[in-house]
């Protein structure tokens, strides 16, 4: 087994003829690492995540996960979406069970797994509800439970807490850290929140605005649970903030240029 759980090798992605979303990205992600992809919108962080998930193959380069080249999306790389993507016609329990049914797990085992996961995410009182009757935070809990049910070693998260209020967000971040701590999954987490990245990650990959490249790749070695008001936390936040704002400024200038052309 190679050291890297996920290998991104020379990945580029071009949309249409001219939009270079990703350019020659190289990342080795060891097993069990919690990685945040950080950058302003348009930096290609979601594009990279979608490529790793197998939704949209890179234009060139390759991605290897768990020793196998990524070709299609699949349950071995469970994804949590920003817009929850729960199936509204299924109850909470049915949403969590769906992936297991597809796997062909016996009914009794499915029931036991669903029970355990609903308990883990404090959803047991909501098992018969439909998603429309849940708050955003609760929906994202269900989405996380649905991916945990797959028991995949890799978990991909695309700005999962972006639409939540600050308190619910912190709550779910702590929940996620607890689960990660217990299960030691490899997590790739996309965010544009600098604080969220520092709070969660072992490693932060800052990306540049078009073309998307790796601007900085840093390890965060602050002890957990991290205190967002600690001086080290804030020093890192300032440093990362400058980098992200440079890219944000390029994004902004680009938009101004585009507007001037119109």
């Amino acid at each position: 087994m190679s050291a890297a759980h996920i290998e991104v090798k020379g990945v580029s992605k071009v949309f249409g003829t001219s939009v270079v979303a990703l350019q020659d990205i190289n990342l080795d992600i060891p097993r069990g690492q919690f990685v945040c992809l950080l950058g302003p919108s348009g930096c290609g962080k979601s594009t990279l995540l979608n490529a790793i998930a197998g939704f949209s193959p890179p234009t060139s380069g390759s991605i290897i996960a768990d020793g196998k080249a990524v070709a299609d999306p699949g349950p071995e790389r469970g994804m949590v979406f920003q817009e929850y993507a729960l199936f509204p016609w299924m109850t909470v329990a049915d949403n969590v069970a769906f992936g297991l049914e597809i796997k062909g797990m016996p009914k009794a085992d499915i029931a036991a797994t669903v029970d355990r996961l609903l308990k883990t995410l404090s959803l047991q009182d909501f098992r018969h509800r439909f998603p429309k009757d849940l708050s955003g935070g609760m929906r994202q809990r269900v989405a996380i439970a649905r991916v945990l049910a797959l028991d995949s070693p890799i978990m991909l998260m695309d700005e999962p807490f972006g639409a939540l209020d600050a308190l619910t967000r912190r709550d779910l971040q702590d929940e996620l850290l607890r689960i990660w701590n217990e299960q030691k999954k490899t997590i790739i987490f996309v965010t544009h929140s600098i604080e969220e990245a520092i709070y969660l990650a072992d490693r932060i990959v800052v990306m540049t605005y078009r073309p998307g490249t790796v601007k900085r790749d840093i390890l965060v070695d602050l002890p957990r649970l991290r205190d967002p008001s600690a001086p080290e936390f804030n020093a890192l936040k300032r440093e990362l903030g400058q980098m992200v704002m440079e890219e944000q400024q390029r994004h902004h200038n680009d938009e101004l240029r585009a507007a001037a052309v119109d």
Partner: protein, 271 residues
């Protein structure tokens, strides 16, 4: 529950006022009674139309006698045609719509034909349907099926084609493909649109049944009001029209119930 009854009461105010105006206009003799009979005359006619023609003679089942009234026969005849025609039309439209929605190949194959045939109103098929099927139920059911077919087809295609990509992505991520993807994800996601088509389809079927009965059948509500015109029985025409309205309402309420049940998961539907 109390508010529900109150709502019904409030809702009946305007119809009651209309009947009152109708009563006054006819009572005062402001219009020809032949053209517009009084509401009382219509009500009398409706009851007469509803009740059996002969008094109970003690032979046979009482129930059969009680339901031997002309109106009940007509209403059952019309409903039978609506339901059978709708079942045929929707039964053909649903699988074709699912295929056209799910497969680009099927869509390309059938779409041009559908787009050419669809704008022809079912009523325009009356002459042809009578040439092909003669008189009675067959041409009527053909026309009704046709009326139900296109709304269900178009909405089924749209429902399947417009399934939100996020559900497909999530399902693929969970490992779904083939029949599982279709039956557990695409089909349920398309149900709201399909039901909208079913609702329009059954409404169209109800319109077409009346027209079909006017020209091709010798019973049913459509036939009865057109027959009544020949005898200048305006009270019976209106009594028949009221029955048509009530049946249409009953269908709509039933559809509403079905919708609320099947779409209990759907946003914005609280019951």
């Amino acid at each position: 529950m109390k508010t529900a009854w109150r709502d019904v009461g409030v809702g009946l105010l305007v119809p009651a006022a209309l009947v009152l105006v109708w009563h006054v206009v006819t009572y005062q003799g402001w219009v020809n009674a032949q053209a517009l009979p009084s509401p009382e005359a219509v009500a009398r006619k409706w009851v007469e139309y509803l009740l059996p023609l002969q008094p109970y003679d003690g032979n046979g089942s009482w129930l059969v006698w009680a339901f031997s009234g002309e109106l009940i026969h007509d209403a059952i005849g019309s409903m039978y045609r609506v339901l059978l025609g709708f079942a045929i039309g929707a039964g053909l439209a649903l699988p074709l719509g699912l295929a056209m929605g799910a497969s680009a190949h099927a869509y390309r194959l059938f779409n041009v034909l559908v787009q050419i045939v669809r704008p022809v109103p079912p009523i325009a098929y009356i002459p042809l349907s009578m040439l092909w099927f003669g008189l009675g139920n067959p041409p009527a059911i053909f026309l009704i099926s046709l009326g139900a077919f296109f709304p269900v087809l178009i909405n089924t295609i749209a429902g399947v084609r417009q399934v939100d990509g996020i559900y497909l992505r999530a399902a693929r991520n969970l490992g779904a493909s083939g029949p599982t993807m279709f039956l557990r994800v695409i089909l349920p996601a398309a149900v709201p649109s399909i039901l909208a088509g079913v609702r329009i389809g059954i409404g169209t079927a109800f319109i077409v049944v009346i027209v079909a009965e006017m020209v091709a059948v010798n019973n049913g509500l459509g036939f009865r009001i057109s027959e009544a015109r020949e005898y200048f029985w305006s009270d019976k025409i209106i009594a028949g029209m009221i029955t048509i309205g009530l049946l249409g309402l009953a269908i709509d309420v039933a559809m509403d119930r079905l919708n609320n049940h099947l779409l209990r998961w759907h946003r914005g539907l609280e019951s």
